[in-house]
Amino acid sequence: MIIAERKPLPEVLGMLDGSNDILVLGCRSCTAICLAGGEKEAKAACEALALHSELKGRDWKVETITVERACEKEFLTPLNEFKGTVVSMACGVGAQLVQELCPEAMVVPGVNTSNMGAPEGMGIFVEKCAGCGDCIIHLTAGICPIARCAKSLLNGPCGGSQNGLCEVSKDTPCAWDQIVRSLESTGRLDLLSVNIPPKDWRPSRNGGPRRIINQEAVPGATQKDWRGER
């Protein structure tokens, strides 16, 4: 899932100058799971903005709605071409879709979108995937060295690996230490001698926004006709 964290309130308030109608948009998907922008957080942000408005006499009209998934246009219909300011508690994807659907609205990010990861414990979220577009975790014991090694090494561990920890931080396990130990325990150490060619970074962040096309799902001429698409 996408991991995000709430933007500091003063930062959000600073972006709302000149606003009148404010809609706080929560998302029940990823940002709800990482406790940054779900229904509860959106309601809290809404109340905080309304309270600020009342205390400072700003006369803001603040409302909140929460959608199932802000990253799909179909779920954003409740916005109904909103024209005020949207404080998006959804990830960056959701925020951009809102702007696309409501071109006259001003979209303000209520969260900082960080990475793709998973909850490691209650309230702790760790990056797991860098979305590099060329997955090789079958060779690395299911552990992604691109996201989880500070240097994204494909031939680790490096000299900074000490007692299973990365030199970057004592809270960061060395991904390559984990990979080697995991392969050792499952009797697959031979995978370490597989020659991984230089990584193909083209499917990664080098060619602008990436586009994945699933030909099976792309509508044909008749289907487009039925759907009223040209």
């Binding site: 309130l9 509860k40 205390l55």
Partner: protein, 125 residues
């Protein structure tokens, strides 16, 4: 006006005893099943509804009826204390009180501290 979210196991009996003794006309009690169940938005809405201060009254940390609800509430009240300052309220308007059900005096003391915090700000203003 001070709104007190009182845990039904500890805060509520203590608050009721304190109310019986009188002098609590400015206090509004809201019973909750556990201090940990009080959400951020509820506290913020209380301020919008006219509260000058909010107390979250829960069990002693080692004796929470829901094991760690009181601990959750303490962390949440720390976040809320920061939030209300960010939106423009003075310091000390949200506080967490841990007490046992017989500690009405502890409840009174917390209310008095909150009144002092509110008065201080009024004097400054």
């Amino acid at each position: 006006m001070i709104v007190c979210y009182c845990c039904s196991r500890s805060g509520m009996p203590a608050a009721l005893s304190a109310l019986e003794e009188g002098g609590m006309e400015d206090v509004i009690i809201r019973e909750v099943p556990c201090a940990g169940s009080v959400e951020q938005w509820e506290v913020l809405r209380s301020f919008r509804q006219g509260a000058q201060g909010v107390l979250i009254v829960g069990c002693l940390l080692e004796n929470c009826a829901h094991h760690y609800g009181s601990e959750v509430a303490a962390r949440r009240s720390a976040v809320l204390e920061r939030t209300v300052q960010d939106v423009g309220l003075a310091k000390g308007r949200v506080a967490m009180v841990h007490l046992a059900e017989h500690q009405a005096s502890r409840f009174r003391q917390a209310v008095e501290e909150m009144r002092t915090a509110i008065r201080e700000k009024e004097v400054q203003a």
